[in-house]
Subunit: 232 residues, 2 copies
Amino acid sequence: MPDSTFPEVRSLDLFADMSDENYAKLMRGAYLQTFPPHVDLIGEGEDADFLHVLVSGAVDLFSSWSNRETSVMIVKPVSTFILAATIRDARYLMSARTMEKSRIVMIPSQDVRAIFDLDAGFARAVVVELAACYRSVIKTTKNLKLRTALERLANYLLSRSQDHDGALNFVLDLEKRQLASVLGMTPENLSRAFKALQAYGVQVNGENVVINNMDDLQTFAKPTSLIDDNRT
Amino acid sequence: MPDSTFPEVRSLDLFADMSDENYAKLMRGAYLQTFPPHVDLIGEGEDADFLHVLVSGAVDLFSSWSNRETSVMIVKPVSTFILAATIRDARYLMSARTMEKSRIVMIPSQDVRAIFDLDAGFARAVVVELAACYRSVIKTTKNLKLRTALERLANYLLSRSQDHDGALNFVLDLEKRQLASVLGMTPENLSRAFKALQAYGVQVNGENVVINNMDDLQTFAKPTSLIDDNRT
DNA sequence: CGTTAAATTGACGAATCTCAATGCACGTGG
DNA sequence: CCACGTGCATTGAGATTCGTCAATTTAACG
């Protein structure tokens, strides 16, 4: 609420197209908060009172049922989360916790909905953002239903390699236990999956990954932009 | 293009709030087509040239990878499909085929995007619709990652019971092979799952389902509105 | 009826989870 | 500096879930 209008937030695609006036209105009731690692931010089932914008750090969006828990997605800066619940004035479908020290801007949901009606540029950006989120989750579903755990892991490694400009060695950006949950498997199974990928030239040492034979791995993983690409 | 402006479409939430003028503009380039059963409408990977509105019949949205195929969702009238690809001017992530004889209105994607910018009511409706779709897919992901196939089936039956006003017996609205694909299992596994649910008082005869002991089934299935509810 | 596709059943194997034990890193406090 | 937690990762053994293949039964429809 102070003078600062959160420049990192302003430059987000979601807010870039709106008028200064409406942006100011939107941020009037917002506040920036810093959280330590491993702090619960949101519990699934709660009302979506705020749209959250992750400015720095990392947030785990997870869900529980019947003593089981799974990580649905990991949010990296700078991006928003739980936009859909805010729009629909509904309950959160996922819980959220910080993975590292994180700075988060919280914008009252009712303000988001109000400004949405006032600002066509913002409305357009929300739609484009939501459509991207939707497509991303569809890809997750296809990944889960069409592939085995080993295939999901292989494609995950190829994706990370792409993120590093196609590098043949890189560092995992997630704890293995986290990665296992994201990929829909147990940590034990992940360990064995890494070993199984040795047959395709993958070496893993701690958090370091080396792809010795990109062709072999790609032949096995059969990546496709209709599942693995984060952009289109 | 003719006089008819597709009243069934007009009354959809998505189009209800827009001006007559903009609705007319949107429908200027649209056309209604009737398809026989089991006709391919869309192949994944193709450009999203049209927003589709299913007026009657049923459409299967499915996806293939590496010789495998899975049904991601079933579309029932009256609703749109592949709105997200239209909005983002991207390629379809899913293929579509008719399950029965179906009437479908096809609206050029560029018109949808153009009218979106002109009509705030339409913009708002698109966002609300997309947010609902997003939340629905999140629930699908949770269902897949947190539950076994048997649990998914049990909850599916409870959902269908709810759809029939809580009736203890009802008729499956999908072929079993289709249902298996939607639930992420093989037809053989579905057969055995139905048998396994006998232990909880479920009787299946052809397409007829009887729930003899709702409490038993609910105790086993542990349904939750954060996964199973289609509305919120 | 006869043809076709779906559904079921059985036998088997692969994929995955669970439980328990061990190993390994990292940080704290002595 | 080292002992010792603590938590994550790994490994092994065994059970469970689930998929595959083949054969059979059932249902649907001309």
